[in-house]
Symmetry: C2
Subunit: 225 residues, 2 copies
DNA sequence: ACCTGAACACCGTTCAAGT
DNA sequence: ACCTGAACACCGTTCAAGT
């Protein structure tokens, strides 16, 4: 009996779309967006780069599939809430957290916004907007505005602090930006210097995000009553 | 006297940061984001790719500079308005139009949101939020929410219809997406099927964008009064 | 000081050849 | 039917050599 030894790069079964997408997600999480190359992916799957093309047409299709898988999972995690107001908050925070943990998801959503991932988020928001009491055409408008805001802020939050050279902690980054903006011309940038610079270093992105959601919900409420 | 003939690739003066950035903007406008390569840029400037590195450190610095130039110009175009409400609408539409005309500006803003371009937009919005009567910490929150919404929607709008294969007109694209979404499972996607699919083909992105601005302003107004 | 362009170290994607 | 991996047509960036 031979010892079953070569476990490292062993491949129990053939490739499949699912195995490729899972490996791509791992690679994206470990090494970031630039870390996902067909060569690195092929190495992880113990095959050649060409094999992947039998199952996936292109890198962009791979990114769509990876993003869809992650968003599906995040949406499934969301627990039901007692009021539409709370439910919308939960959805917003779920998306925010998913993109915060995986910046590449945000980048991908802004690259291909008509794909399944976006659809799932819009569906959840839409139902709660209906439950909130919004009627007629305003349902579409309200849900779209919420979706845009949630995605927009989540992406910008995730982009902050990344791609800095060298990578730094969030607090240090905010201090650095605030210090740079403090040097701006006082006549040209009064709001930045007087308001933004003061609030930037101490502020919490997540609370600021939620405050914006409340603002939009307050606006929606004025049209419902 | 020799005839001054070879005008095509002539270079009157040496390179400069400004000339490089202008040429980069031309290239981005004509050939899209993928069209901007150091080789194509060097060819247009009648030099070699290495020469550009004497003036610009990297491609990402080049994109930051190009985006900054375009946003500065767009902000300078905005005429003053009679009320803060109208002024915010003008700023929003100015940003929306600039990104609609140049999708690469949107992509770049989401890639490097702490750069000068974003700063200029936030400054304009902030001043109008102050004029609107918002006080204290709410100034930062309100301005941030508006900025996020404006940038987020503009980027998503610009991304729609691009990168489709083949490129199609906006109306056709919406019909295609609506048709695809109509086939979704009725139990899983009731909101998409009943509300979104019906509104999608006929709707105007720009009005929908403005409706969202009104929603946020209505929310801000409830905290001012 | 500024420019040149070959060279380096990569990419995504294709495809003839294998099993 | 599925996989392999060399090859193709590119990239951004560097750098020795020029002016």
């Amino acid at each position: 009996m031979k010892k079953a030894r070569r476990r490292a790069a062993r491949r129990d079964e053939g490739l499949s779309r699912e195995r490729i997408v899972d490996a791509a997600i791992e690679l994206l999480d470990e090494r970031g967006e630039d870390g996902l190359t067909f060569r690195a992916l092929a190495a992880r799957l113990a095959t050649g780069p060409g094999a992947i093309y039998w199952h996936i047409a292109s890198k962009s299709e791979l990114l769509v599939a990876a993003t869809d898988a992650v968003v599906s999972h995040a949406m499934a995690q969301i627990v039901s809430s007692s009021t539409p107001h709370k439910a919308i908050r939960s959805i917003a925070l779920g998306v925010y957290a998913a993109i915060d943990a995986r910046p590449w998801v945000g980048a991908q959503l802004s690259r291909a916004p008509w794909e399944a991932a976006m659809l799932q988020i819009l569906e959840r928001i839409g139902r709660q907007v209906q439950a909130f009491g919004v009627r007629g055409n305003a349902q579409f408008t309200s849900a779209s505005a919420l979706l845009s805001y949630i995605i927009g802020v989540s992406i910008q939050n995730a982009a902050n602090g990344r791609m800095l050279d060298p990578p730094v902690a969030r607090a240090d980054f905010l201090r650095t930006v605030a210090a740079r903006w403090r040097e701006l011309d006082a006549r040209e940038y009064p709001f930045i210097r007087n308001v933004v610079v003061a609030r930037l270093p101490g502020h919490d992105d997540r609370s600021e995000f939620l405050a914006g959601i409340e603002l939009i919900l307050a606006g929606i409420a004025t049209s419902v009553s």
